[in-house]
Amino acid sequence: MMVPYPTGGIGSFNTQHNHGARSDTAFFSFAVDWAWLLIILACIGVYTAAALITSRQHRTWPLHRYLSWTAGVLCVMLSVTGPLARSSHLSFQSHMLVHLLLGMLAPILIAYAKPVTLLLRTLPVTSARKLSRLLRSKVVHAFVHPWLAAIWNIGGMWLLYTTDLFHLMHQYRLLYAVFHFHLFAAGYLFTISILYIDLTSRRHSFRNRAVTLIIAAAGHSILSKAIYAYPPAGVPREAAEQGGMLMYYGGGAVELVLMFALCAQWFRSASPSPRSKKVLPRSDIT
């Protein structure tokens, strides 16, 4: 059951009409919806074209990556435009569903589509070299360090749900956009810092990544129970309870996928049996 936020009243975060000057009724306008639709279609189109064209010179790009990319981009679309995005502005449960789609599911699907590998094999050699030099730089290494990515990811959420930020986010369009971008970017960085699916220039040990994943998953489930116990400012108790449970179980399901994929990578690299060696990751560029 959806529990909408009380509009207006004290304690609700949806109080635009109380602040005339700062009102943001055009959070989701018709034009914005169309712009998003075009961007999403362009993302799918460019990816597909690049994969098809480069498949003539290089190894054929497998079908599951096209599907993974499309599914990931559609998750982003559902979170930023359309009915779910609209209702996430009013209902905490919908907000939490957006959080799961944009911050957890979309990043995994997109990582499995190997966009960096595709980009490198699409670009002309000189630009590809420049890009790979950039990917090997210290700044990029720091960003995809598992610890930093986990702090960035889980810390951002703690900040959002335990301070006034959540309330403010629904009043300022810019803050709303920045947070949602952060949610996706941090989720993506975290995913690729734990799972080496795409090209990875600096690798950390399995143990390091496993411990980081466990602590981050724990941080996520502690936060979801904390939301249940102490609703964020302006969120009614029942909505916080349902949203907290959605975050707990939904997040748990996605973390299970991450853990399974990480352990499967360990198994493939550790196993002595020749059958498992056949499926070692191959380079798709050469």
């Binding site: 466990i214 998953a217 724990a218 502690i222 707990y248 973390e255 299970l256 499967a264």
Partner: protein
């Protein structure tokens, strides 16, 4: 194809990986008890609660860490089990001993520290809780004892076998 369970053929491998067999069992036991707790007591019987108002904050932290760790332990130990089979190094009694020990230790921690000290949740509500607590913790203690006996017996077999070899 090599025989998988021929005691002579894989004894060396089993002894080489004895402690990995034990740890695989311990992790799996921890995950198994957490799984039974979640599925049987939370979801099927509805005896346990997602959150009850007397939970201390440290209880939330402990629960979150164990929740994440137990899921990881279940998955990781399953892959470790497959890896041991691949090396023809699986040792049933060492693994079973690990399951009983790991499961028992987690259940005892859950029953005494999480339920009683951190008041995370109780086994059941609106009943006299004492018989439930006793049953929970005694079963945990029995699992630990049974696990230790199994592990020590395999250790005895190992030293005995080594003695016979030399």
């Amino acid at each position: 194809m090599k025989p998988i369970e021929s005691a002579r053929g894989n004894r060396k491998e089993r002894e080489k990986y004895a402690s990995r067999n034990l740890w695989t069992g311990i992790l799996f036991g921890l995950g198994l008890v957490a799984f039974i707790d979640e599925v049987v007591f939370h979801q099927l019987l509805h005896w346990h609660h997602f959150y009850d108002k007397s939970t201390k904050d440290i209880g939330l932290v402990s629960d979150g860490l164990f929740h994440a760790f137990s899921w990881f332990a279940t998955i990781a130990s399953s892959f470790m089990l497959a890896d041991l089979h691949g090396r023809h190094a699986f040792w049933l009694s060492q693994w079973l001993g690990g399951i009983l020990l790991g499961g028992g230790v987690f259940q005892l921690y859950d029953g005494i520290i999480q339920h009683k000290l951190m008041r995370l949740h109780q086994i059941r509500y609106n009943v006299d809780i004492r018989p439930y607590d006793w049953a929970w913790n005694v079963i945990a203690a029995l699992m630990i004892v049974a696990g230790l006996i199994l592990i020590l017996r395999t250790r005895h077999v190992r030293t005995h076998a080594e003695g016979a070899d030399s």
